[in-house]
């Protein structure tokens, strides 16, 4: 008893403004802070992608205002090829670390994991606050790279050595900019470790009465599995960043081979191996892909069940599949390195689990589709984005089959095919998960509904737009268009420029459409229709809180008691065709 009640009261309600909104211990505020940070990062990253796309189709056109961002990188507004790479690096780093890791996992996880399991707060609220502010510091360090004299680094978000390790000789931005990058990611690793420790402890220890592990909603499971992956994956990136920083400022040469001559300057380093960086980085990097997509899978499954008004064919199988993906994600990192000069035998070894990992992914897709078949799907923005997610996940996933095989990958490696593949399956799919989550949980987070009409407009335009952007990427890749070229003016790629133009126009259009979303977000926050207590007639605990947004202790001083599996839909009860998890009622027969 004493042990259990020790956790009933975490902290009192905040009083001062700073405690309430800035250095808040409340997981809900921290979740929103993560969301806001991800929003800032995603807008920045999207603007960067616009600049890159414009440059690709009009390499000599001065982009108004760009010269103020960097005098050296974009003299007169025309970006240099190096600056193109810098923008690409920052786009990738911002999107992967600060959007895809933060939004579906840290933001929604922080907000809804404690509520869904019936807890008052995370297990360690102070830790939680620290992990957000550490992330924020990492973000500031990264963005500072824009404003150092040399500009941001140009080694890509993967920071391949030796380019990233030798320092200034490697190009503009490889001086201070790259060091800031390494530092930022190092700090980000620490923040993620703190966050995932907290998530695991919360999930295991703070479940309310009756909320057994088997009764947790899919999305809570997804956050839990993701934090287990993050716990061990970021632990490997941490020393990798440490060694990279040592190489850069300590003069060591872990990642720099002997006799390297860069910019007519013989490098003093000797004895290291660029492959070592790739191994360490991708050992983290591949699990990171699943850190981005698993929470989205969870969110989508959670919302789909609600919209279908009936249980999934087997929601437990989806959880097992997520565990399987988490397990396999540590065995496949070498498939990023088929052409790196890695041992060809290892390529075979890595190819096999890579193909294996499609099995759980396929099982999940089949469960979604099989459950959708014959269901009475409620069409709203959230469920539309879920369908969009499945579509993106499948289209992007199918191209993974090609890339998983070393012999085909030799042809497709480092082409736009790869870019199209990961943008669809990891980028857009995860973002669709975030959109779905936003439309679904907005009533809970603010007490107001988002505009459904604007939401549908946003969905359809985004859905069509993203396909227009990323489908042609596959074609470009098959045609041999190499990634990371800043312009295709006078080489064999000239005939492909019309395709690039189409992509650029689609990207500008799709990006602009996101203004609808942001407008909807802001407008509905202040002027949206007041949300009923349970607008989606959902069953999980986040809809049992006494108010929307929930009070600081989530359930108003009480602890809910859970009696049911999370998805009691399509049953007969006093509330209609569903039964809340904390309702003591017994479900009747299926109507």
């Amino acid at each position: 008893m004493s042990e259990a009640s020790a956790h009933v009261v975490h902290h009192g309600p905040p009083t001062s403004f700073i405690r309430k909104h800035v250095f808040s211990l409340d997981h809900k505020v921290i979740g929103k802070q993560y969301y806001a940070l991800a929003l800032v990062a995603v807008v920045t990253g999207m603007v960067l992608s616009w600049l890159m796309r414009i440059h690709l189709i009009a390499p000599n056109w001065p982009i108004p205002g760009l010269q103020w961002l960097s005098k050296v990188g974009a003299p007169g507004g025309v970006m240099t090829p190096e600056y193109y790479l810098s923008l690409m690096t920052m786009h990738g780093t911002l999107m992967v670390f600060f959007v895809l890791t933060n939004a579906p996992f840290a933001a929604f996880g922080n907000y809804f994991l404690p509520i869904q399991i019936g807890a008052e707060d995370m297990a360690f609220p102070r830790f939680n606050m620290m992990s957000f502010w550490t992330t924020f510091i990492a973000f500031c360090i990264l963005v500072a790279a824009f404003f150092v004299p040399d500009g941001p680094p140009l080694a890509g978000w993967t920071a391949y050595a030796p380019l990233s390790a030798v320092g200034k000789d490697a190009g503009p931005g490889e001086g201070l900019g790259q060091t800031l990058w390494g530092l930022s990611i190092f700090v980000f690793c620490i923040a993620s470790l703190l966050g995932s420790l907290n998530f695991i402890a919360t999930t295991l220890d703070l479940r309310t009465k009756g909320m057994t592990l088997a009764r947790m909603p899919i999305v809570s499971w997804a956050w839990f599995i993701t934090s287990c992956i993050a716990l061990l994956a970021f632990a490997v990136l941490l020393p990798a960043c440490l060694l990279l920083i040592l190489d850069r400022i300590g003069g060591t040469s872990f990642f720099i081979p002997s006799g390297l001559n860069i910019s007519d300057h013989l490098q003093p380093h000797q004895g290291g191996s660029p492959l070592l960086w790739q191994h360490l980085f991708w050992f983290f990097g591949h699990p990171e892909v699943y850190i981005a997509i698993l929470p989205a899978i969870g969110i989508v499954s959670h919302i789909l069940i609600n919209s279908m008004r009936k249980p999934m064919l087997s929601h437990k199988t989806i959880i097992y599949c997520m565990m399987g993906i988490g397990f396999l994600s540590y065995m496949v990192w070498g498939h990023h390195m088929f052409l790196s000069g890695m041992n060809p035998f290892s390529a075979l070894v890595f190819s096999f689990p890579t193909l294996m990992i499609t099995i759980p992914a396929t099982i999940m897709t089949l469960i979604w589709l099989g459950s959708l078949y014959g269901s009475n799907l409620r069409i709203n923005t959230a469920s539309l984005f879920c369908l969009g997610f499945i579509s993106m996940f499948v289209s992007g996933g199918v191209s993974g089959f090609f890339l998983a095989q070393p012999s085909i990958d030799i042809y497709l490696h480092a082409t736009y095919f790869v870019v199209g593949h990961f943008h669809m399956v990891m980028g857009v799919a995860a973002i669709f998960g975030v959109f779905a989550g936003t439309y679904f949980w907005f009533p809970k987070m603010t007490g107001r509904m988002m505009s459904e009409r604007l939401g549908r407009l946003h969905f359809w335009l985004t859905f069509i737009g993203t396909y227009c952007i990323f489908m042609p990427f596959h074609y470009l890749g098959l045609a041999g268009n190499v990634r990371r070229y800043s312009a295709f003016t006078d080489d064999f790629l000239v005939p492909l420029i019309p395709v690039h133009k189409f992509i650029t126009y689609s990207a500008l259009f799709t990006g602009a459409v996101q203004l609808v979303f942001i407008f909807n977000l802001i407008y509905s926050h202040f002027k949206g229709a007041i949300a009923p207590a349970n607008p989606w007639e959902a069953t999980s605990l986040e809809w049992s809180t006494p108010s929307s947004p929930p009070p600081f202790d989530n359930f108003g001083g009480k602890h809910p008691v859970v009696y049911h599996d999370p998805y009691q839909y399509g049953v007969k009860s006093s509330t209609g065709d569903y039964l809340m998890q904390d309702s003591p009622e017994r479900a009747g027969e299926t109507p």
Binding site: C228, L232, V236, S273, L275, L276, H279, F283, F327, Y330, M331, G334, M342, N343, F345, S346, V349, F350
Partner: protein, 95 residues
């Protein structure tokens, strides 16, 4: 909490770990070998985890959660060796 062994067990484990540390130094001069050294170190680590850190007294689920996860990650990292030797031997493993 009372079943955490006694000072006697602690001392025995302590002496055991020190003896194995001595054994490693002996091996360093007479029969050096990475695998052999690692096996001894792993036994030391096992004793430290089980007796010093009292994982022996925790629930078996905790043991099953922590140890396989860590070992799995560490075992997977062994895939890097095939590349390390190739730099000078130009083959996956030294002859």
């Amino acid at each position: 909490m009372s079943a955490e062994g006694s000072l006697k067990t602690d001392l025995m484990v302590y002496v055991g770990i020190l003896v194995m540390a001595g054994l490693q130094i002996f091996m360093a001069y007479h029969s050096p070998g990475v695998i052999r050294m690692l096996v001894v170190a792993a036994i030391q680590a096992f004793l430290a985890i089980m007796f010093f850190m009292h994982l022996r007294d925790e629930k078996s689920t905790l043991r099953l959660a922590l140890i396989p996860a860590t070992l799995f990650v560490l075992v997977m990292m062994n895939m890097v060796w095939a590349d390390s030797y190739r730099l000078i031997h130009m083959r996956p493993f030294p002859k």
